[in-house]
Amino acid sequence: MLKIENLHATVADKPILKGLSLSVNAGEIHAIMGPNGAGKSTLGYVLGGREGYEVTQGSVSFDGKDLLEMEADERAAAGLFLGFQYPVEIPGVSNVQFLRTALNAQRRARGEAELSAGDFLRLARAQGDALGVSMDMLKRPVNVGFSGGEKKRNEMVQVGIIQPRLAVLDETDSGLDIDALRVVADGINRIMRAPDKAVLLITHYQRLLDLVVPDFVHVLAGGRIVRSGGPELAHELEREGYAEIAA
């Protein structure tokens, strides 16, 4: 589904990704771990198509198409979702309005019929309920005044509404209390664990990986994948830290 080959990328002329390769097949969940500043969020932004993140070498294909050729909104319509480490606040635009605009734009781009206001509200309410995000919150401006944990739960509500094929979730577990972590983990398993879907889970914590058991674990350090393994690699990292492994 996703094939990243020898990816090099710079931010403000500073090389951050330095030859990163990774393949993700449909039905798989991959965890990416790594020290602060390793380039994990940068990878997410490059995949998402953020301005200012310049690819200098390498390729990324998504369902056989050149991802890097597409605009950010086209990537979303193609089925890519980027969960933000720091979700953005948008004063004056409600979650409902934002997500309905987003979902319908995606559906238009794929040649599907748009959802009516009523159908959309039913969908939003159901997905919000599953993640403990009330309709009142969904009617408030996007992420404005939301606590850190509420913002992350809200990202998962968006995954539920948009139903992407590949979700790149950047520290969606950070800032969650113990109960919320379980709710979000259940959300990932419920929505994204399917034969035609895949997840790239960026995280620092084993506790998420106990709840969403990955098929593969990768260590990203210095802009490259320096080690890959199964779920046991996360336990090893937890015991020994990155110093040994990333060296």
Binding site: D73, A76, F84, V88, I90, V93, Q97, A102
Partner: protein, 381 residues
């Protein structure tokens, strides 16, 4: 044609205005044709007035309590106000009176220049909502005198939807004890505007709001100059302006609060915000305070910025195309100003006007980008 005596840019109050097109517009002959569709708002039945090139179209109007004739206005030294003359419409409401629904006034200009005065005089506890919509293509120039007696309430909304040309209006208002005036402008057409106003809060506990949203693209110019003067204690005033400039357009807002000696416990707030949608656009914001009382609370803020890039990327990452994201964020930016309008049907119509403006196909990118040095925001304190 009479010779136009117009102010020059050398005058501080007119430095951002461009009146150079007015003599040429004034020389044109109006076509006088009234289109089928006029911007009436679907709301509770109230008086309706249609002015075509400054003349009442009686067949399409329903005056109710509104009269036509000489108007008690004092245009002072203001050049455009003087041109408006002393004849026009007049709404005088006695104690406790209110029209059956919002008073709707449509000003249609079919080509040349038209000038008209108006007055709104509300006696104690009288109430009115008035919405004026400007459409067409010439130059419409208005002077409105407003007098609110004790506890009277006036909601005054202006929709400037004229496709080309020029719209200018000047307000002269006094607000008495416990009375309330909320004046809101939305400029969402293709015409240039010049908006002038002064509000005197003459009674204790008077309330006044003046503000609006100015949307400009191409080489359009909007220019608003408003003064609120507190002359009595415990008055409250709010001036909230939102300017959006795209392409090579320029929006300028000068908003002033004056607090006279003795106007203690005044609460005055100004919020002037500008949004630049292109590098070659310009927004000028000039908040001014002049305070001669010691126990007052006055706050002002002025900012000019661009659309938030993080928000644009966040929206794009959810599949919202760039133009749609820009429109959503820009609509949100002006929403505060339109929210001030109390009459729901009018408010909804104004939100729709703004959305229609944003939905218009933008110019191709090549025309949009200009040298960075030319544009920019300016905040003058």
């Amino acid at each position: 044609m009479t010779l136009l005596d117009l102010p020059s840019n050398r005058d501080e109050a007119w430095r951002w205005s461009d009146l150079s097109a007015l003599p040429e517009i004034a020389a044109r002959a109006p076509a006088g044709v009234v289109p089928e569709a006029l911007p009436w708002i679907d709301c509770a039945e109230g008086p309706r007035l249609l002015f075509v090139d400054g003349c009442l179209d009686e067949s399409r109007s329903d005056l109710g309590p509104v009269a036509i004739g000489p108007v008690e206005v004092d245009p002072e030294g203001h050049a455009l106000a003087r041109l408006a003359g002393r004849v026009g419409w007049s709404l005088r409401l006695g104690r406790d009176h209110a029209p059956s629904g919002p008073v709707q006034i449509v000003h249609l200009s079919t080509g040349g220049a038209d000038h008209l005065a108006g007055e709104i005089v509300l006696d104690e506890d009288a109430q009115a909502s008035i919405v004026e919509s400007f459409v067409g293509e010439g130059w419409s120039n208005r002077l409105t005198r407003i007098r609110l007696a004790r506890s009277a309430r006036l909601m005054l909304a202006r929709r400037v939807m004229a496709s080309v040309g020029f719209v200018s209006f000047t307000d002269r208002a006094t607000v008495g004890e416990g009375a309330s005036l909320v004046a809101t402008v939305l400029a969402a057409g293709g015409a240039d505007t010049r908006i002038d106003g002064s509000i005197l809060l003459t009674g204790e506990g008077a309330y006044a709001e003046a503000g609006g949203a100015l949307l400009a693209r191409g080489r359009q110019r909007h220019d608003a100059n408003y003064v609120v003067r507190h002359e009595a204690p415990q008055g409250t005033s709010r001036q909230l302006w939102r300017s959006v400039a795209d392409d090579r357009a320029i929006c300028s807002v000068a908003a002033r609060v004056e607090v006279a000696r003795g106007a203690q416990k005044t609460d005055g707030e100004q919020s002037l915000k500008g949004l630049l949608l292109s590098r070659s656009a310009q927004v000028n914001a000039k908040p001014e305070l002049e305070i001669f009382a010691d126990d007052v609370k006055c706050a002002h803020g002025a900012t000019v910025g661009e659309l938030n890039r993080d928000a644009l990327f966040y929206m794009a990452s959810r599949g919202v195309p760039r133009e749609e994201a820009r429109a959503l964020l820009t609509t949100a930016f002006v929403a505060d100003a339109i929210e001030r309008v109390g009459e729901e049907a009018v408010r909804e119509a104004m939100h729709a006007d703004a959305e229609a403006w944003f939905a218009k196909t933008p110019l191709p990118l090549g025309e949009r980008e200009g040298p960075a040095a030319e544009g920019g925001g300016r905040v003058r304190a």
